[in-house]
């Protein structure tokens, strides 16, 4: 979701500790959860990283004043330069260079520790403190600004040799233009202090000239330059740049335009941070102010919670944004896309166009919807691999689900699609021939595989652990996921019985027989196991990773004589067709979709919608879907459209 808010892909790792993606009724699309101080700290760090990421996106600041080109400093950047302390035998060190008045670099005379001309007339020289002009050339100490900035220049020239001579002329030039000029009498001095802005590469020359006579003209210079580099973004203001940037990110994050009081708050937060950052000497105060403001956006309850799901959460004039957001959350697991946003903004998101948008999103964001809804419902979003082929198995479950949505097939086909999509290794696990080993997603027609109950993803995840656990786990999964059938809670008396029944088991007997004994121990046990066991035992034809088998390892035949809802379910094929035909399954699909759309369980008085969903689609609902009746995709659109009216109608 955050990646849609700022408009770039973000890696999952960034959200490892992001709390608001919560856990409601089996679907975590969006919800409210609590956050404590520890969680908040982690989240604040994530929000800061998000803000930094947002600032690096050029399109978000394309409306802002252009920035000066980013160049490396031309020499060492310091806050203070000193003509005396920085003196060295290297040209350019600490931005100082030593020239004659023709601009020719001097050379260092190590014997005297001074700079002099590389010429027979060596009279001008520059030592650590002293300057001396020559007969026809003067000496120039040059400081070149490494970056753009404000420079405060202060210091003093002193004619240090009062024994003779006629004094000196001293001057300071910026890029050849005179900033200061003084005539110093013999033995006199000149104090200077001024500020100027300098661009990168601008030159500041300190020059001593002899007057009529250059003897006794040794002149000391102590110059201190304080450099405050300019921030690159100093031209960015709230009005010409930052306000719109924050507004853009925050409105997507809050899924509605910013309200005037919020905009004013963020402006105040921005301006005060900007001023404090500049005062604290932060290098780029605008970035600091922007990232602070965006951090406040990403941590806001308006982003973390979803007020549009609650009456009063959005203003009446924001309702169309609320609907757009509901559509976005449901189909995209994220914020509204641009067409939805535009429709909300122009007030054209009416009950009629909602269906069209929903249908559009059901196509456009089909993989996202499949991953969020299907992946949570049928567990294929969970990437924990429990088997070396775990990822291949997960891909099969996901690909089949996507294909059923894409091809407009009805929900029952989830159980028997007639095809599957497998990798080479998975095909060989299933015993298919003709799929090359290196295939990653080969579509294969198959009457027996591809359905949820025959997918290795489900079978291997539930096949782990003890012999007993497998059929029970598989049965429970089918009851809760495919039939929405609640089972009684385990009370201590039942638990006690379960414990005792384990001790009474004769482990040399076949598993179904042991389970029958377990089941028949009492009515208490039977209450659940009469439902769980027929399903779990029918699926015993699959081993713990999902391979077909007719015998247990010890050679005993696998057979079941149990009934389920009055139908014989001796093997997975009979079980599949029993579930496929049961109205319970169709109602369960509807219930899962509604739960996902409502972000809560449908209430008792809302269950009539479930039946509506399972029936053929009404003629009143325009749908360009290729399927004539209730395809899973059409059902998904209907569920959302119904959920919108449901939550509007309820308090």
């Amino acid at each position: 979701m955050a990646s849609d808010v700022i408009g770039v892909p973000l890696e999952d790792a960034l959200f490892q500790k992001w709390t608001p993606v919560a856990q409601v009724y089996g679907f975590d699309t969006m919800s409210e959860t609590r956050i404590d101080a520890q969680g908040f700290e982690e989240q604040a760090a994530t929000a800061e990283a998000l803000a930094a990421r947002a600032l690096a996106i050029p399109s978000l600041s394309s409306h802002c004043p252009p920035l000066p080109p980013l160049e490396p400093p031309s020499c060492n950047v310091k806050s203070t330069y000193s003509s005396v302390e920085d003196f060295s035998n290297v040209q350019g060190k600490d931005c100082w260079s030593y020239l004659d008045s023709d601009g020719v670099p001097m050379i260092f005379d190590a014997a005297n520790s001074w700079w002099k001309r590389n010429h027979p007339d060596q009279s001008p020289f520059i030592a650590r403190t002293l300057f001396h002009p020559g007969a026809s050339f003067s000496a120039v100490r040059r400081w070149t600004s490494p970056v753009d900035g404000l420079v405060t220049v202060s210091g003093e020239f002193v004619d240090t040799d009062p024994r003779g001579g006629d004094g000196v002329d001293v001057s300071i030039l910026k890029n050849g233009n005179q900033m200061d000029f003084r005539t110093i009498p013999n033995g006199g001095n000149a104090v200077f202090s001024f500020k100027l802005t300098m661009d990168r590469g601008d030159r500041l020359d300190f020059i001593v000239n002899g007057k009529a006579f250059h003897g006794w003209d040794s002149t000391a210079l102590t110059a201190t330059l304080e450099l405050k580099p300019f921030a690159r973004k100093r031209t960015w203001t709230w009005a010409n740049c930052s306000g719109a940037l924050v507004g853009r990110v925050a409105s997507r994050a809050f899924r509605r335009p910013l309200r005037p009081d919020e905009r004013e708050d963020y402006r105040a937060l921005y301006e005060s941070t900007l001023a404090r950052a500049a005062a604290a000497g932060i290098e780029e105060p605008v970035d600091e102010a922007l990232s602070t403001t965006l951090q406040a956006v990403f941590l806001s309850p308006n982003f973390m919670f979803k007020p549009e799901l609650v009456r009063g959460g959005f203003n009446p004039d924001e309702q169309s944004y609320g609907v757009a957001s509901r559509l976005g959350l449901y189909f995209r697991g994220s914020v509204a896309d641009e067409p939805l946003w535009a429709a909300a903004a122009s007030g054209t998101l009416t009950s009629k166009t909602v269906v069209a948008h929903a249908t559009r999103l059901a196509n456009q964001d089909l993989p996202r919807f499949a991953a969020n809804f299907g992946g949570q419902w049928l567990d294929f979003r969970d990437q924990r691999a429990t088997h070396p082929l775990g990822e291949d198995m997960r891909r099969e479950a996901s690909d089949v689900f996507v294909t059923i949505l894409r091809e407009g097939l009805p929900a029952e086909r989830l159980l028997s699609p007639g095809f599957t999509i497998v990798s080479g290794p998975l095909a060989s696990l299933y015993g298919f021939s003709g799929v090359p080993t290196e295939a990653t997603a080969a579509r294969v027609a198959s009457p027996s595989r591809g359905g949820v109950l025959s997918q290795a993803h489900f079978l291997a995840r539930t096949g782990e652990g003890s012999e007993f656990r497998r059929p029970i786990h598989r049965g429970l999964w089918v009851l809760s996921r495919l039939l929405c059938r609640p089972l009684p809670q385990l009370d201590p008396a039942t638990l006690m019985e379960i414990g005792n029944s384990f001790e009474a088991l004769d482990r040399s007997r076949p598993l179904p027989e042991q389970m029958a004994k377990h089941r028949d121990t009492s009515t208490r046990c039977g209450a659940c196991h009469n439902q769980i066991d027929p399903v779990g035992i029918a699926l015993e034809k699959y081993d713990r990773v999902g391979r077909w088998r007719d015998f247990y390892e010890d050679g005993q035949a696998i057979e079941s004589t149990l009934d389920f809802g009055g139908q014989s379910v001796r093997d997975p094929i009979e079980l599949t067709s029993a579930i496929e035909r049961s109205p319970e399954f169709r109602a369960c699909v509807a219930e899962k979709l509604l739960t996902f759309a409502l972000n809560r369980s449908p209430r008792e008085d809302e269950t009539c919608w479930k039946e509506k969903l399972t029936g053929p689609i009404t003629a009143a609902s325009p749908s360009p879907s290729p399927s004539p009746s209730s395809s899973l995709r059409t059902m998904s659109v209907e569920a959302l459209v119904n959920a919108l009216t449901l939550s509007e109608a309820s308090p």
Binding site: Q23, D28, A44, G312, T386, R469, W477
Partner: protein, 436 residues
């Protein structure tokens, strides 16, 4: 009240027999010798078929402790139960491990349990011994998505937290040793002006969030307010934390840099480092109370593969169904966990803190295979001849876990805390017989 009077008498007895004990004479109120508390939690129980002792013996699951010479610092307390009939113990006895109060089901967005022992102890200790962090919560793994659709009404918050400061206010554990290091010892870099700026920056963000939450709360129906109120409380708590200072601790270790992103990577190292930091923090007086979650409730993801080789997750092994390989795995997992406890106790001992610390170690279940909640595997650890360390205490009948917590309060000098837990988990007021 009975318990309380007995304790007052006991203190008088100590004073009479050791009249020159300066630390006691110097203070108006006698301070307990034990003034630190740690609770450690493991999920899914141990191999204890039908809730009998099973592998929970000195030469079974507790062998790592015995091997480290810690037997005389560990007391086995049998016959304890915890939990509420209608609540699945995976959730109930994780969130309720230290509160013995029922969790509230229905809306998974709103988690509610009871105030926990560690928080009560922390609050009391903080009034006597100032500490930078009244309590520390340490863990390793979070669930961010709801685990089982069949348990729709059960919030994952119940699996992630054993510390509750208020019925509606859990305290999340820190999972990454590097984060714990930064919290305990990490000073901010930069000059004073920059640190001041960073503080003011944080504060102004928090002010804004507070404003947002207040505005939002005003718009939403009553039923929504608790969530926002708790959000605001959190913001305020973080704000308070910003202004706290004055505690200094120089760590004798460097910041951990290993990879802790996956729960099974560096599992043991994670807790060894956390133990080291916790003991340092206690030595420095940064904290006196802590909880440790060696895994979240259920711990489906934890395989202990680093120690035991590849295999099924903890939860799957616990539902062993009598299968030998799962049972062996479960036993081995128990030993890895008691090995962690041994590491903690050794570090406390080396730092001379064990005399003044009480450690409770326990689980949500005994026999995880059938979710049994009687005869819970529970240990009380510490040092001192006044308690029956090194022994096995078996009360004559089944007793609530809350009875152990009342004893704990007593041993920490909180003699006014004579009752704990509610409903079927309420304490009985009877001693467990843990005193020598």
């Amino acid at each position: 009240m009975r318990t309380s009077r007995r304790n007052v008498l006991r203190w008088m007895g100590v004073s009479l027999s050791l009249p020159l004990l300066e630390s006691h004479l110097a203070q108006a109120e006698p301070s307990p010798t034990r003034r630190r508390f740690i609770a450690a939690y493991v999920p899914n129980g141990a191999y204890m078929p039908a809730a009998k002792n099973g592998d929970w013996t000195w030469d079974g699951a507790l062998k790592p402790l015995v091997d480290q010479g810690l037997r005389n610092n560990v007391m086995m307390v049998r016959q304890l139960f915890n939990g509420f009939e209608t609540k699945d113990p995976h959730w109930q006895n994780c969130a309720g491990f230290l509160s013995c109060e029922p969790i509230v089901l229905g809306d998974p967005g709103v988690a509610r349990c009871g105030v926990t022992v560690d928080q009560i102890v922390a609050e009391r200790l903080a009034t006597k011994i100032p500490a930078m962090f009244p309590s520390l919560e340490i863990g390793g793994v979070y669930y961010h998505v709801h685990l089982l659709a069949s348990h729709a009404a059960y919030s994952s918050d119940y699996l992630n937290r054993i510390s509750w400061q208020a019925p509606d206010k859990f305290r999340s554990p820190i999972g990454n040793p590097a984060h714990l290091f930064a919290k305990l010892f990490g000073g901010q870099q930069g000059g004073t002006a920059q640190i001041d700026f960073l503080h003011s920056r944080k504060r102004s963000v928090l002010d804004q969030l507070h404003k947002d939450a207040q505005r939002l709360a005003a718009r939403l129906p009553e039923s929504y307010r608790p969530v926002l109120a708790s959000y605001m409380e959190t913001v305020r708590e973080v704000e308070l934390g910003l202004s706290k200072g004055g505690f200094q601790c120089q760590p004798t270790m460097s910041a951990p840099r290993q990879d802790f992103t996956h729960p099974n990577t560096n599992y043991r190292l994670r807790f060894h480092l956390m133990h080291q930091m916790l003991v340092l923090a206690m030595q420095c007086g940064l904290t006196n109370t802590a909880t440790l979650m060696y895994g979240p409730g259920i711990s489906a993801d934890l395989t202990f593969a680093e120690d035991l080789g590849p295999g099924v997750g903890h939860h799957t092994a616990a539902h062993h169904g009598g299968t030998a390989s799962s049972i062996e795995r479960l036993k081995a997992i128990s030993r890895v966990q008691t090995g962690l406890l041994a590491d903690l106790l050794l570090k406390l001992k080396t730092a001379n803190l064990l005399d003044s610390t009480l450690v409770v170690y326990g689980s949500d279940m005994s026999d995880g295979n059938v979710h049994a909640t009687t005869n819970l595997p529970t240990l009380l650890c510490g040092a001192g001849t006044d308690l029956k360390f090194g022994q096995e205490i078996t009360p004559s009948s089944k007793r609530p876990l809350s009875d152990l917590y009342v004893e704990t309060f007593n041993l920490l000098g909180m003699t006014d805390r004579t009752r704990f837990g509610s409903g079927e988990c309420a304490s009985t007021g009877q001693p467990l017989g843990i005193r020598a």
